[in-house]
């Protein structure tokens, strides 16, 4: 905007171009307050600029060592760990889906119509929804020993409340008309489920479960850090000895695997929808 046009516009409609000074003062005050709070937090966490600089220098060196990536002659072992990671994700998701299904039915408003019970049950699920799989894995490894078993249970535990919530929401969203139709044709309760409910619910639930499988493959990749098997263990080991060419190899391989699974799962989900 040219200076002249701006002055003209300001003369005609000052409010359109400039907020009243009280609001501007208030906004500036809030902005400064927010910035001060952030700086205060940074100071409280002892985030020193010096540490940042040396850290970046080190990080640069690590990244330099990452090229060219190298398998270190252990590609068989790494591929096996990758397969184990997928196995953990698949088994964990399957268990989560099987456990979440009855919980989802209980959590659906259309099944359990008592509002108090519904509220209590949903809140109970909500409590555990935020706990990340790694937090479960840490204690499960300590309880069950090193190995993928703890990882499978951790993934399942982290997913069950989330999947149950999604399942009960999709059950609530099913159209009652086909169900009534099948029932009025004289079908048995089982047949009502099979021909009235399942065609609506199964594709949605399967698609949600596939989505969780994608997420679990990402989560399973890190559970090895606490000893729960899979590729994370191999990664952690190599980061500890600063073998960054092998780290880069594993990360690249893993990212390719994640992308493959995502593409496959997305195409399956598109077919279901």
């Amino acid at each position: 905007m040219s200076r002249q046009a701006y002055d003209q516009a300001l003369a005609i409609a000052p409010d359109a171009l400039r907020a009243p000074w009280t609001r501007r003062v208030r906004d500036a005050f809030l902005l400064i307050l927010a910035l001060a709070a952030l700086v205060g937090m940074a100071i409280d966490l002892e985030l020193a600029p010096g540490a940042l600089m040396t850290g970046f220098a080190k990080l640069g060196r690590f990244l330099g060592e990452m090229v060219p990536p190298s398998s270190g002659g252990q590609s068989a072992r790494i591929l096996k760990a990758l397969a184990e990671t997928f196995a953990m994700a698949f088994a964990g998701t399957a268990i989560a889906a099987v456990v979440a299904l009855p919980l989802g039915v209980i959590g659906a408003k259309t099944v359990v119509s008592n509002p108090v019970l519904h509220f209590v049950f949903r809140r109970f699920l909500d409590i555990f929804r935020g706990v990340p799989a790694l937090v479960w894995a840490l204690i499960l490894v300590s309880a069950f020993g090193l190995g993928p078993f703890a990882g499978v249970v951790a993934l399942a535990l982290a997913d069950i409340p989330n999947l149950a919530k999604l399942f009960s929401e999709s059950l609530e969203n099913t159209d009652p008309k086909p169900i009534e139709g099948v029932r009025s044709a004289g079908a048995s309760p089982l047949a009502v489920m099979r021909f009235g409910l399942a065609p609506q619910f199964a594709p949605v639930a399967t698609s949600q479960t596939l989505f969780f499988l994608e997420g679990n493959f990402r989560n399973a990749g890190v559970l090895g850090i606490v000893g729960a098997g899979g590729i994370g263990f191999e990664l952690d080991e190599r980061i500890r000895i600063f073998a960054f060419d092998e780290v880069a190899f594993i990360i690249l391989l893993y990212m390719v695997a994640v992308a493959c699974l995502d593409t496959l799962s997305r195409s399956l989900r598109n077919r279901l929808a």
Binding site: L45, F62, E84, A87, P148, V153, I251
Partner: protein
């Protein structure tokens, strides 16, 4: 008439056969995958004793703090009191607060970076295609890399402590929000941009007066959702040494204090719950403002 019915029946039989074959093949693939997965992940492996359900029960037993109703309010030395269960509450609360600080700082920094990135990747604001392409690929790469792997490398570079955690979450927030912000940018009303263009505004003024007023409420809403996610993330990051309450979890495990673990877990759950409530309240206000 008869032939039409016959053709229909034939067609239907063929369809049923095809559907059933598809279902059978799908089921077969699924079963094989499931069996191989359980085998590979040693779910029923005998080398850790078999009996997965029995082990679960034993584990729950060990998490039980053994509270005694008549001793709840006794001092720290009495087994069975709340104080002896939550014996280091001030330390844990401080660690929890650090986790909150990490999440807030990382969300703020990540959002600012994402803001910049979103203008570089939005089709309607960045006319230069190669820049869009490169920035988009970088954001995608960040999203594919799990946070904790990034955290491991950053802890190796920046040392144990919150700095590595804040950086990890900042980068991952940049990846996640950068994409969402760019999508918001591409959906804005182009007429306001055209009006500013016609008035001779430069690119920065176009962003300030044409884009910002339209997108800011949506941005804030997404950033708050991200804050909730970052808080859970920050709690987990401590386990690999990136600061916050995760370090306390790790310590409880080192001393195999399962009941302490449960206590800290409850603090984490409460912390996530409080931030969720706060963020939801602010988001609802923002949506209300947007409608007004």
């Amino acid at each position: 008439m008869n032939t039409a019915v016959e053709i229909f029946e034939q067609e239907r039989r063929r369809m049923l056969v095809r559907q059933r074959t598809q279902a059978a093949v799908g089921l077969a693939i699924f079963t094989v995958l499931l069996l191989v997965s359980f085998q590979r992940s040693q779910f029923f492996g005998s080398d850790i004793g078999g009996d997965p359900l029995g082990r679960m029960a034993d584990f729950l037993q060990r998490m039980n703090p053994g509270l005694k109703p008549e001793l709840l309010l006794e001092d720290r030395q009495t087994r069975g009191s709340l104080h002896s269960w939550f014996y280091a509450l001030p330390t844990w609360l401080h660690a929890a607060w650090q986790t909150v600080e990490m999440a807030i700082l990382a969300t703020a920094l990540g959002s600012i970076l994402a803001l910049g990135a979103s203008f570089l990747t939005a089709q309607n604001l960045m006319p230069f295609a190669p820049v869009r392409f490169v920035v988009r690929r970088i954001l995608e790469a960040i999203r594919t890399l799990p946070d904790l792997i990034m955290a491991l490398i950053l802890v190796a570079a920046f040392g144990v402590g919150p700095l590595a955690g804040v950086l990890t979450l900042t980068i991952s927030t940049l990846g996640g929000l950068g994409k969402l912000f760019a999508e918001i940018n591409e959906e804005i009303d182009p007429r306001q941009l055209e009006a500013l263009q016609a008035a001779g505004a430069g690119p920065l003024k176009k962003i300030r007066y044409g884009v910002m007023p339209q997108v800011l409420p949506n941005y804030a809403s997404y950033a708050l959702i991200r804050l909730e996610g970052n808080l859970a993330g920050a709690a987990a990051l401590g386990i690999v040494g990136a600061g916050g309450i995760g370090i306390e979890l790790q310590r409880a495990i080192t001393y195999t204090e399962f009941d302490t673990y449960l206590a800290i877990l409850l603090i984490i759950i409460a912390m996530i719950f409080v931030i969720d409530l706060f963020s939801e309240a602010v988001r609802h206000r923002l949506i209300g403002l947007e409608k007004a």
